[in-house]
């Protein structure tokens, strides 16, 4: 590999579509979410840049390690989660433009998505707080809840796009949509689309599916002992996760809106991300109250998984 | 010719399994294991029987084409199997003794600390 090639890859990893892009767009989406929510509740709301300010401010604060905590794990957990999210960002193409085009990257994505959640769980667990103990158990149950519908949605897409040859490659899914139209406009995929819209808020952990953090109840659960830079990184993780989930949605269901210009593609994608953020997070957040943990589990395994399974059956019989 | 033996061996195996499933007394369960073994031993030794065959004791000069004798392999297998069965029973009985010392009973339905 020559030096330009290496620099190019470094550019991809650090600037676009990797670290910088994911962080900036993630923070933008988080700010947008807060602003829109405030407007829906007839508040003025914070400026769009507020999450960025929060992040920078937290970075400057002192980090307290409680004496009951295991220091290494406690400090490493947010970084590990962040790393996984940035790698994920590299796997998600900006429509035609992607860094890696493996054969099975949907499964890699599915797996990498669990790492930030596991990092949160292990970090919270290592802090030694009983609130965190309750929080991690809820985080885990949330994860079990949304994993089933998510898996079924991904299988449905793979079957729809690949036919009998099965397609787990996100790049191929996007280029298939460029030829055959967006998956969102295929009637059989509508239930899967709805299911995916409901999976996103649980994955990101926004209300009403934020049982794990539940500020009013268990004081942010796993994050209770965190302060300073590690907390900043965890907050950043949530923001980046917003970007990743919405971008994944955009690629799965609205892929193939390609203009040929990477910059323009990126703008369209961010617009779609913003829309998805509005519908799946802000709107639901504004109109519902937090669920109980057992209701959450039941809801995902019956309603959401049912929607996804309906779609899978429809696709299987050839619609 | 051997049909009776086969039927008997299957009956023995089934009886043994029945004993293991239904009897709560540990000693009876061990007996059931023994009965299953005997049934199988009977079956194996019957598979090698040739009606009218002689004992399979020959040296290389006597062993000509057309010599008629029972198959020696199942007999060897049966011997091995009997030895193994005896070992299993001995082991099981020694465990029953240990169990009786610890639990003061040989009732299977009371020996269930490990469950769930």
């Amino acid at each position: 590999m020559d030096i330009t090639g290496a620099l190019y890859i470094l550019f991809k990893i650090l600037i676009f579509p990797g670290l910088l892009f994911a962080v900036v767009i993630g923070l933008f989406l988080a700010g947008l979410d807060r602003k829109l929510l405030a407007r829906m509740q007839k508040r003025v709301g914070p400026p769009l840049r507020q999450p960025l300010f929060d992040f920078l401010k937290l970075l400057g604060k002192e980090t307290i390690v409680p004496h009951a905590a295991n220091k290494t794990v406690y400090l490493a957990a947010p970084v590990v989660g962040f790393t996984a999210l940035i790698v994920l960002a590299l796997f998600i193409p900006v429509f035609g433009y992607s860094t890696f085009s493996g054969n099975g990257d949907l499964i890699v994505i599915l797996y990498l998505l669990t790492i930030p959640a596991v990092a949160l769980i292990v970090g919270g667990s290592s802090s030694g707080s009983p609130y965190a103990g309750i929080g991690i158990s809820r985080e885990m149950v949330t994860m079990m809840s949304y994993e089933l519908p998510l898996v079924v949605v991904l299988l449905t897409v793979a079957r729809k796009v690949g036919g009998s040859a099965l397609c787990f490659s996100l790049g191929d899914i996007v280029s298939w949509q460029a030829e055959n139209g967006c998956l969102a406009f295929h009637p059989a995929m509508i239930p899967a689309l709805l299911a995916m819209l409901l999976v996103i808020p649980a994955e990101v952990g926004t209300q009403p599916f934020d049982v794990a953090e539940a500020e009013t109840e268990i004081c942010e659960g796993p994050l209770i002992e965190y302060s300073g830079a590690p907390l900043a990184v965890f907050k950043l993780n949530t923001a980046v996760k917003m970007f990743i989930m919405t971008a994944l949605f955009a690629n799965l269901f609205f892929g193939g809106i390609e203009t040929g210009y990477v910059a323009l593609d990126a703008v369209i994608m961010v617009a779609i991300c913003a829309l998805v953020t509005f519908f799946s997070m802000t709107l639901i957040h504004a109109v519902t109250a937090r669920l109980k943990i057992e209701h959450l589990f039941k809801f995902y395994w019956t309603v959401v998984a049912g929607l996804a399974a309906l779609s899978l059956i429809l696709v299987w019989v050839g619609l | 010719m051997m049909l009776v033996n086969y039927i008997a061996s299957v009956i023995l195996v089934v009886l043994g399994l029945y004993t293991i499933i239904t009897k709560k007394n540990l000693i009876k369960i061990v007996l059931g294991m023994g009965i299953v073994d005997y049934g199988i031993n009977l079956f194996i030794v019957s598979t090698g029987y040739n009606d009218g065959g002689t004992a399979p004791i020959y040296n290389m000069t006597e062993l000509v084409s057309g010599a008629y004798f029972v198959d020696p392999v199942p007999q060897a297998l049966t011997l091995t199997s009997i030895v193994i069965g005896a070992c299993v029973d001995a082991m099981a009985l020694s465990l029953v003794i240990k169990l009786y010392r610890q639990y003061k009973t040989v009732d299977a339905s009371e020996i269930r600390r490990l469950r769930g």
Partner: protein
Amino acid sequence: MSYVHFPVIAVMTLFMGAFLTVVLGKHSRAVRSFLAIAASGIAFVLIAMLVKPVLIDGEIISYWMGNWNPVNGYAIGIGYEVDQLGMFFALLVVSTILLSAVYSLRYIERDSSQEFYYVLFLMLSGSVLGLVLTGDVFNMFIMIEIMTFTAVGLTAFRNTGFGSVEAAFKYLVIGSIGSSFTLFGIAILYGQCHTLNMAQLSAMLSGNHSPATLMAFALMFTGLAVKSYIVPFHTPAADAYTTAPSSISMVFSGMVNKAGVYGIIRLVYIIFRTMDIPAVQTLMVIFGAVTMFIGVTMALAQHDFKRLLAFHSISQIGYVITAVGLCTSLGLTGGLFHAMNHTLFKGLLFLCAGAVLRATGTTNLDQLGGLSKKMPATTVCFLIGAFSISGLPPFNGFASKWLVYQAAYDKAVTTGNFLYVFVTIVALIVSVMTLASFIKVTQAAFFGQLPERLKDVEEVPFLMQLPMWIMSALCVLSGVFYNFVDKYLLVPAVSAALGVSRYIDSMMGSGYAAEKCVTDIQASGVHFSYWNPMVWLALFVIVLCAACLCILTSKGSRGEILEGDGEDGKYATFFSGEKALPSHVGGSDLFWGFKTDWKGYFNIMEGLHSGVVNDYALYVVAAAAIVVVFTFMFMR
């Protein structure tokens, strides 16, 4: 000396070691330790020396005991045949033996009658090694029986402990029912074919099934399934793994149930060559899916560290059986890879449980907590094992589980059968539940509050840490260098399992398979790898950047990382101003949300695992009956 003798010598060494330990090892600890390490080390070296001829050059070693070669196309002697499949399992076996022997040196130093421990241990090792190397079905039965006894003896080794004798008795009853079924099957086969050699049986049975051989198939399948502890034969395994010493639990999950899996693969792929019949595939996939699901849900309900691991062992074997039952080369690759990974990570986890038991004297999760500060090495090893078994990248469980999912869904698409879609989804959900229950152990044992009772706990000695570190390293390496493992271990083993005629020819003389019209199993599916060096480069760069970021932020005067001792309220855990001390969230308190939703299911399951040996025997016999009926209905 030619290497064709090595397999037999390796098995003999272990049995001789057992014998010598009886004679010489009674009084001196040094002697018996030396004998155990020497015997297992020699076996390891001998098997390792076969890697080049068998796995790399692709040779199949056939060896007739006492030089009783086949006469007129009939095998009359006992044959040892080492093909790549057997070699793959033999490597797993000898590695497990060696690591477990090293661990045992310090682990059992406080027990009495140690010489019997080593005798039984070496006999168990020898029998499993013999089982995977032999080419004779009756020899296989003998090895299975020796394996069962010695395993029972070792389960009851700490016979004053809670329930160990009980577990041993149940193991013996269920195990001997399984062995009896196997023996019955072998007897029927002998009656039909008049041979006991696997290669010759394979040549005679291929595509040539009478009701008698179908019966033999059903019985042998059940018998070997009992030995691999798939549901519903898993009940004694859960008890035995819990109560046996941890070094032995590692051996059980690392090689004893692998021996059962090996037997099943040998049975369905080679001896009966029935794997291309869809009914057999369905049978195995259903067994596998049920096993993984019931195993993992039972694990979620456990309060004991080792019992939880035991149910996970069962669940992971479900993955292997499912993948092997798909009969695609991808599925077989995934299954064998997962079997290997299971040996590594489950062995590692059992060793960690042993370390916890030795340090604290209990494995009850409700009484543990906060061990990570006292036992940092064990904690790191445990986390590596837990992440591996949960299938997080880049650990090995990720690679093999991915292959399993991919194979199952591929199978669904190529056959159009919805059953396999269902199985894929079950496999993915089980993976998340596995993660959940390991989070539970992590929280309950290693993190959280340290109970007062465990203030003086110390890390285990280096000799016990050594096998744990080796296995951790292997877990990471086999995940990262997946291509290497695939090329040198999995591809030869898979092609050996599918290439029946080569197996027959090398034992019975070339041309024998063609004469009997045996064809190789046609398995669909292609290999693919997830390995992409760029991904790991990217990971590396980002980790570096993140680390730099952390260092930079922590250097600033205000962003300092502060650590304090217990006196200062600033560093205490937040507990909402209550007077009471923060309480530890124990293992049984986690996941109640999940458990309340599934209360009905858990109640039924707990009722079924009643602990009464009669019930367990009933499950075995009922399942055997189902297999027999299924065989006769769908395999004719």
